[in-house]
Amino acid sequence: MMTQNAPALDATSPTAQPAPDQIPALSVAGVSHSYGARKALNDVSFAVRPASFTALLGLNGAGKSTLFSLITRLFAVQSGQINIFGHDIGRTPGEALRLLGVVFQPRTVDLDLSLRQNLLYHAALHGIARREALTRSEELLARIGLADRAGNKVRDLSGGQMRRLEIARALLHRPRLLLLDEATVGLDVKARADIVGHVRQLVTEQGIGVLWATHLFDEIAATDDLVVLHQGRVLARGLVPQVIAEAGASDVNAAFARLTTQASQSSASSLRSAES
């Protein structure tokens, strides 16, 4: 678990040439993306340190899913650069994607297939031979407490169990960076806490770097790194207490409100000055 006085590698502290162990798990630098005339992301930059939990906070429509589509190479990067452990997602996608696990916001498991079949399919996509894939599947299913249901159809699982399965699936190829896009949407309070706890455990016990996109303030802990994304722009980034202090607020909720209000005001005034 990171501490507050750990060497910060987030974009706020200038570092000249980081040592190899300080290469960010994920670095997003100057990324912009448009859908036709509509700009979804505007000069977005931030980094996720290895073995850290970085919360990407933004309302619906802030650009989180677009960002995820770019990091997973689903969309081509239009401008800027995205690196996963130093591997450019555009130039060496194979190396970059090997180190990346992802849980998308919409469910992407096959409901008609069994838990095990879903995991084996994913393992095959990563070129993991069947025997090894079987071993890893059993291990992961045991860890999420679903070992006895390996042969059941995914359709029979609860929402929380499906999410845990998706997280297990994202870990099959042993990535070092895990992306989760609104992973707790539609879950009840207990299942939510369960998922958040599980992912935090992955950070501390396995040293996985996590980027956790959310619009729920209560999922963010004081020790997390925070990136505030609003209308395609990064409004603030840094350790949670730092962001709160810089915004002159008392908690994340207030800081977010203050930052987004400021952003709206400044964009409105710049619009006015452009008109005059």
Partner: protein, 284 residues
């Protein structure tokens, strides 16, 4: 903005072994097969269509159309026997268009997302996906052949084996064509559009329902159109292969078209299309 600094890459294996490529291919085909087994309605509806043509259309036309002895047939044949290869190709045509359309538009977006985060090259993943779709269409064709056998469509036993490579090649061609069309032509985003503008013209302007020499008697230019239609060559490749023969011209056309469509489809494939279509509201 100090994150723009270029960092030296973390040690990681580059490239992929042949074993990884094979594992990936087997996995994709295996999953498609499993999904197919779970979707009985899809299987039944894929079979009903050609059977309606066989049982009703062909029976009605039997007396109208006389078929002379043309290769690969060595005797006079019934009309049902003539159109069987055309119906086999039709199964593949529908299947190819349907599965390709769902790859490009959002219906299967979740599955495409899972597929495309695989670190293997995207072109290879799309090829595997098309091959998996073809495998499903081949299963459908064999199910059709089993029923057709009871309807007195009895090709030589070896024909059931020799037709397999022809089915794989034509399935790939039609799947790649479907993907190229749905990636390249924005207007054809639903199946009705594809049916009107692609499936029906391709199917009717081909040798599937009538031999080209009969078409030529009525309209030479239509015969010429049929002859340049890749679907005609898919039908003829299957027809000859079903009787243990090889039609070289059709093989060359189908092989060439497969390569061109496949490369075009991979280049034109744009996963952001399914998202942009849904509009800004779909993006969060």
């Amino acid at each position: 903005m100090t994150v723009t600094t270029v960092h030296s890459p973390a040690p990681a294996r580059s490239g992929f072994s042949a074993g990884e490529y094979v594992t990936c291919l087997i996995g994709i085909v295996w999953r498609e097969g499993l999904r197919f087994l779970h979707q009985r309605e899809r299987f039944v509806s894929a079979l009903v269509r050609p059977l309606v043509w066989l049982f009703i259309f062909a029976a009605g036309f039997r007396q109208v159309l006389g078929i002379s002895i043309i290769p690969p047939y060595e005797t006079y044949i019934l009309y049902e026997v003539y159109i069987a290869p055309g119906l086999m190709a039709m199964i593949q045509l529908f299947n190819g268009m349907q599965s390709s359309l769902s790859m490009v538009y959002d219906r299967e977006m979740g599955n495409m997302r899972t597929l495309l985060v695989s670190p293997l090259p995207r072109g290879y993943l799309l090829f595997c996906k098309l091959l998996a779709g073809t495998a499903v269409s081949v299963l459908q064709v064999y199910a059709f052949l089993v029923i057709a056998w009871f309807w007195d469509i009895t090709p030589p036993p070896m024909g059931y084996l020799t037709v397999l490579p022809a089915l794989i090649l034509s399935g790939l061609m039609l799947g790649a064509l479907g993907m190229l069309i749905s990636s390249g032509i924005k207007q054809l985003e639903n199946f009705a559009g594809v049916m009107n503008f692609v499936i029906f013209p391709m199917f009717f302007a081909s040798s599937a329902l009538y031999p080209l020499w009969r078409v030529e008697e009525g309209s030479p230019w239509l015969a010429y159109l049929c002859e340049t239609n890749p679907f005609t060559h898919a039908v003829e490749l299957i027809r000859f292969a079903l009787y243990g023969k090889l039609n070289w011209v059709s093989l060359a056309v189908v092989g060439g078209c497969t390569a061109v469509f496949m490369i075009g489809a991979i280049l034109a494939y744009d996963p952001s299309r399914g998202f942009v279509r849904r509009g800004p509201g779909g993006e969060a």
